[in-house]
């Protein structure tokens, strides 16, 4: 079981109020692509809001954090920290701060 924290607007869209927990198919290692695949399968309304429907490219104003590290520019198939896979730490999807 892994934990994912969504930005507030995507929580509203997915109709969740807190972090979500997902069963990710066992794989070694756990990757961002596997987490997002599981997230979008459970919450199909999120498809296209985090990464492009076709290219799977990250939307420009979103970032990925975990275990106090910025993983945004890591490859989608790079291993995530072990604490994310064990559920000790959440995988955070964060909207860039902007506005005035």
């Amino acid at each position: 079981m892994i934990r994912v924290v969504l930005p507030p607007h995507l929580r509203t869209l997915a109709r969740v109020t807190d972090e979500v927990t997902l069963d990710v198919p066992p794989a070694v290692p756990l990757t961002r692509a596997a987490v997002l695949d599981a997230l979008e399968a459970r919450y199909p309304m999120l498809r296209g809001t985090i990464r492009d429907h076709v290219t799977a490219q990250r939307r420009p104003f979103l970032r990925f954090f975990a275990c106090t590290r910025d993983l945004t520019h890591e490859p989608a198939d790079a291993p995530l920290p072990g604490a994310v896979g064990s559920g000790e730490e959440p995988f955070l999807i964060v909207g860039a701060i902007a506005g005035g």
Binding site: P44, R47, G48, A96
Partner: protein, 396 residues
Amino acid sequence: MSGVRVLVGTRKGAFILTADAKRRRWDVSGPHFAGWEIYHMKGSPADPNRLYASQSSGWFGQVIQRSCDGGKTWEAPGGGVTMDPGEGAGPKGESNKFVYDVSPPRGKPLTTHQWYDGTQHPWEFKRVWHLEPSHTDPDSVYAGVEDAGLFRSTDGGTTWQELAGLRGHGSGPKWQPGAGGMCLHTILIDPSNPKRLYVAISAAGAFRSDDGGTTWRPINRGLHSQYIPEPSAEVGHCVHRLALHPSRPNVLFMQKHWDVMRSDDGGDSWREVSGNLPSDFGFVIDVHAHEPETIYVVPIKSDAEHYPPDGKLRVYRSRSGGLGNDWEALTKGLPQVDCYVNVLRDAMCVDTLDPCGVYFGTTGGQVYASADAGDSWAPIVRDLPAVLSVEVQALP
């Protein structure tokens, strides 16, 4: 008719305003989709409880929303929460998926369009500007998008397919974005012939299809735009809005960047009917529900100053379809001093009650209503986020 439902899209959410047939006392519901830009909401003429909304964000992209109960509840048509999605068997979540058709028979590679610096640029989907439901089928709806293209769904917004003949008819490489982006913002369906469609694109012009959207041709003869190298070119005109009356679908009215125009032959030719307007720049234009020659515009001072002339918010009405040089200012109830709001292209509409109701929204967050065809006005709400679109439904 029991009343009206006004659907308001704003920079920070959607609002639904309802009233009985007198249209004096209003209930306000919202914000729906709080914090998101709602470029457009529109109800199905075939089922007034079926609504579609375009929800978008610079962070999260495009989301299509659908309501089957008049806006009380909403759903993403592509699928809800799926606890056990299985191996590829769950909902595909494609209601947000707008992918340009690049298949050779229809879309060709579809070339590129002109970019701001004069180079060619590939089409890139950004958002849905306008949703136009079918007159007869609640599950059929067209979407006009930026970068300019036309999509259609026949399954209630669950999936979308491009009508690629529009981009592919030949003039696409000459289209270019205006300051607001290269958007397809107007879709008109001929109520007497659903095979005939009109669309308008900034800054390309107006186009017509006579075969249900398969093939298209520009209909810009008679337009004159001094801001392009060849002022009477086939394409390149910044058309802001088209309107027609259901009883005379061959008569079209246009608010162009500058100039109010009229066509009596389905867009084959146009003539200017700006007449005595204080400015012929503007965005909105609409037609009285029961008088096909009565039309409305909101003059804006200029393309450099997007607010009303003299700080006076005035709707102008012509009872001759613009032919009689008879534009009259409608000011009763509208601010006539220090008013510097804009009225954007999708932010005016008319209802079908008698007398005809007219509505418009401003970038200052006001939505004004007239229950007497424009003779007098009153604000329904004053302090919404900037209004992007206003549509109205007459409820049975």
